[in-house]
């Protein structure tokens, strides 16, 4: 279980496999807080579903998309692209080390997508007509909106859910009866056989819809400021999803280790930091290459409001990219955390700005989310946080050392987990 670093010092890999969280009770004050926020948001969402949209949001005809579509879906699913980024690194580019953090990425990614889709479901005004999705001859195949409405649910509830299946089934195996064990033992090989195909789907589909999220904005044309409106928007959104996924996973791992008092693994964190830096550079290269090709460099340095916003967003991505080239930064927990956070923020800014801030349909038009709108958005996010908090306690998600885990799983009804013999 140990690896050797360049200088020959022996480091112990603290992350060997997923280990559930034991130290904390399931319902802590923090969890109850998020549960309350989530309940509030969901109740409001249900009420909103049977009421006019205007009463529950600050959207108007100039800004027809509020924060649910633009933030919960277009922006936060970038943070939920951990499965795509880590998965591609692990399974396509064969970075073996990252397999151990794959589960954390999968659970957080699934929750970002699921809560984003809930937000989307409560945002459309005539949801009852969505049954038309079942009739392919009614699809407008060139619409990016259709692509997303089809691709994201299929990805989340088929492929990503399937990828999450092993960690769920693992619990059933170790806490189940002999019949359950036998059943799972019988079907495990079949699951393994189709796993690579599901993996392929799980990477092709996000490539499609993460870029389509950017493609949505192409139709807005000149309504989006030229610093953001480019035919490369789909590619840029995809690359942003890449480094946001990486960055968020780094950030999440560090924060959960802090919160649940678990040791870190410098090797893996360093690897994540390294990859993050590369993807950030790739993103910036395409971004600036595009600006040069469209002769918009002057606009970028005009130092008006939009230019400053652009420079700020670029700085948020450039600083981590450069800083993470230094080994010391990659391997120091605090700096890695800060750089990952900056990169995520930069990615979020990039994906959010063209939808609302750099979007100018008419002069004299203003938009800010209304209170119910904010409460619902926060509610969806809290639901994700709550579910994640529950998942890491009931399933073996967060990476840890094997010796900490005796194949124990927390029983649902009991506070204290019991030891279960294999």
């Amino acid at each position: 279980m140990s690896s050797h670093d360049v200088t020959g010092t022996t480091l112990v890999n603290h992350w060997q496999r997923g280990v559930p969280v034991y130290r904390e009770p399931v319902l802590t004050p923090t969890m109850l807080f998020f549960a309350a926020l989530a309940a509030l948001g969901l109740i409001l969402a249900l009420v909103r579903f049977f009421s006019p949209l205007g009463q529950f949001s600050g959207m108007n005809d100039a800004y027809a998309w509020g924060i649910w579509k633009t933030f919960n879906v277009m922006t936060l699913t970038a943070l939920g692209s951990g499965p795509l980024a880590i998965g591609m690194a692990a399974w396509v580019f064969n970075r073996q080390k990252l397999h151990v953090v794959m589960r954390t990425a999968l659970v957080s990614g699934f929750l970002f997508y699921a809560t984003g889709l809930v937000a989307l479901g409560f945002d459309v005004g005539r949801a009852w007509n969505f049954y038309n999705i079942l009739f392919p001859w009614r699809w407008n195949a060139e619409s990016a909106m259709l692509e997303i409405s089809f691709c994201m649910p299929v990805y989340c509830f088929l492929f990503l859910a399937f990828e999450n299946l092993p960690l769920v089934l693992e619990r059933f195996y170790y806490t189940g009866s002999d019949a359950t064990k036998a059943f799972l033992k019988r079907w495990a090989p079949a699951l393994r056989r189709i796993y690579p195909f599901m993996l392929t789907g799980a990477y092709v589909l996000p490539l499609m819809h993460q870029s389509s999220l950017g493609g949505l904005l192409l139709l807005a044309g000149d309504k989006i400021h030229p610093l953001w409106q480019t035919p490369f928007l789909p590619l840029l959104y995809l690359l942003a999803a890449g480094f946001c996924g990486l960055g968020f996973l780094t950030f999440l791992l560090l924060i959960t280790c802090l919160h649940y008092s678990r040791p870190l693994d410098a090797g893996i964190m360093g690897e994540l930091g390294n990859l993050l830096s590369y993807v950030c550079f790739l993103f910036l290269a395409v971004r600036f290459g595009d600006l040069v090709w469209r002769a918009q460099l002057g606009t970028a340095f005009a130092f008006d409001r939009m230019s400053l916003l652009f420079l700020f967003e670029t700085a948020l991505i450039l600083i981590p990219a450069v800083a993470l080239r230094r080994t010391a930064v990659r391997e120091t927990p605090r700096t890695l955390l800060n750089m990952a956070a900056l990169a995520c923020l930069g990615g979020l800014f990039f994906r959010f700005i063209p939808t609302t801030i750099a979007f100018s349909p008419a002069h004299n038009a203003r938009y800010f989310p209304s209170v119910p709108e904010l409460i619902m958005a926060i509610g969806y996010i809290s639901l994700g946080i709550l579910a994640f908090g529950l998942a890491v306690k009931y399933f073996a998600v967060l990476p840890g050392e094997i010796k900490d885990w005796n194949y124990m799983f927390r029983k649902v009804r009991q506070r204290r987990p019991e030891a279960v013999r294999i």
Binding site: P52, V100, N129, R138, F197
Partner: protein, 309 residues
């Protein structure tokens, strides 16, 4: 091993074929030329603000023909006084005043019925579509209320009913029901001065150019707005003041649908892009998976611990 590899390859191939079949069924090869051509029977409206007196007869006529209530919100119940096109107003007369009050101009705003509309291009189930004679119409049983049309329209035309739990997307539909009965739209029929007239697009373009030719210097830039804007529209404007002053945005002559789909239409043609990506990625994944599986058995034997996926 070789046989199962072939089986796996065959499975992948079948998925590919199925995908292509689905793609063939569903991908409507919507052509988006950069400069669309109008259909021969395309109708149009020509609005000339040098003739318009601002009488606003077109506004109650439109309300009546479309069964819309007056928008009396801002007037406290007194007048039909919309501030802009909205969910109760498909057609509006606006006034532009030069800052030094030296000149003024009216403008009639409604859907431009573009030759290649952005709203039609973006609508997921085709609720907005270009119907007969080029009128852009909305179908309530296909619309999911996603408001992508509002985001896409360069003229900010489609309006959503924010205050209705069963919201419609409201915009001028060229009085499609009247067109079907061989009548002209309500606004052009009622206009007392002939400021807005109805006819075939080719005829009205010709007429507009004749007007320009016979009064040089009268019309802004001596051209017709809508001839080429966003690929061309079926509502044409002649104005004495600058078009952007009366709220008609500066637009290039490329259709927005073309700009938005020029890359994706190639990548997604017959789903070829995703299929190629699937094969390519699939190949790499399969290879790494096989390696992982081979090492897994070794690892499990060494450590006694089951593998975690």
């Amino acid at each position: 091993m070789a046989a199962s590899m072939n089986r796996r390859q065959a499975l992948k191939g079948m998925v590919g074929i199925a995908g292509t079949a689905v793609g063939a069924m569903t991908a409507r090869a919507e052509e988006h030329p950069a400069h669309p051509v109008a259909a021969p029977d395309a109708v149009a409206m020509l609005y000339d603000n040098t003739i318009c007196t601002g009488c606003k007869a077109c506004m109650p006529a439109c309300n009546e023909a479309n069964g819309l209530p007056p928008d009396t919100v801002l007037s406290g119940g007194l007048w039909d006084m919309p501030a802009d096109l909205n969910s109760k107003t498909k057609n509006i007369i606006k006034l532009y005043n030069e800052p030094d009050a030296s000149a003024f101009a009216f403008v009639k705003r409604q859907c431009m019925h573009c030759l290649d509309p952005a709203c039609v291009s973006g609508c997921p189930f085709g609720a907005l579509k270009k119907s007969d004679w080029g009128a852009v119409t909305w179908n309530s049983s296909l619309c999911i209320g996603c408001r992508y049309c509002e985001v896409g329209c360069p003229f900010d035309v489609p309006k959503f009913e924010w205050n209705n739990w069963n919201p419609k997307v409201v915009k001028c539909e060229f009085c499609y029901d009247r067109l079907k009965k061989d009548e002209q739209p309500a606004c052009t029929a009622v206009c007392p001065t002939g400021a807005v007239i109805f006819g075939k697009r080719t005829d009205l373009l010709e007429q507009a150019k004749e007007r320009i030719a016979s009064s040089p210097g009268k019309y802004f830039e001596s051209r017709v707005y809508g001839e080429h804007e966003a690929g061309g529209t079926q509502v044409l404007y002649l104005s004495k003041v600058a078009f952007d002053k009366i709220g008609l945005p500066k637009l290039g002559s490329t259709s927005i649908g073309h700009y938005a789909t020029k890359v994706t239409s190639v990548i997604y043609k017959w789903l070829s892009g995703p299929i190629v990506a699937a094969f390519f990625l699939g190949g790499l994944i399969k290879r790494n998976w096989n390696r992982h599986e081979a090492e897994r058995l070794k690892r499990e034997k060494e450590t006694g611990l089951p593998d975690q996926l």
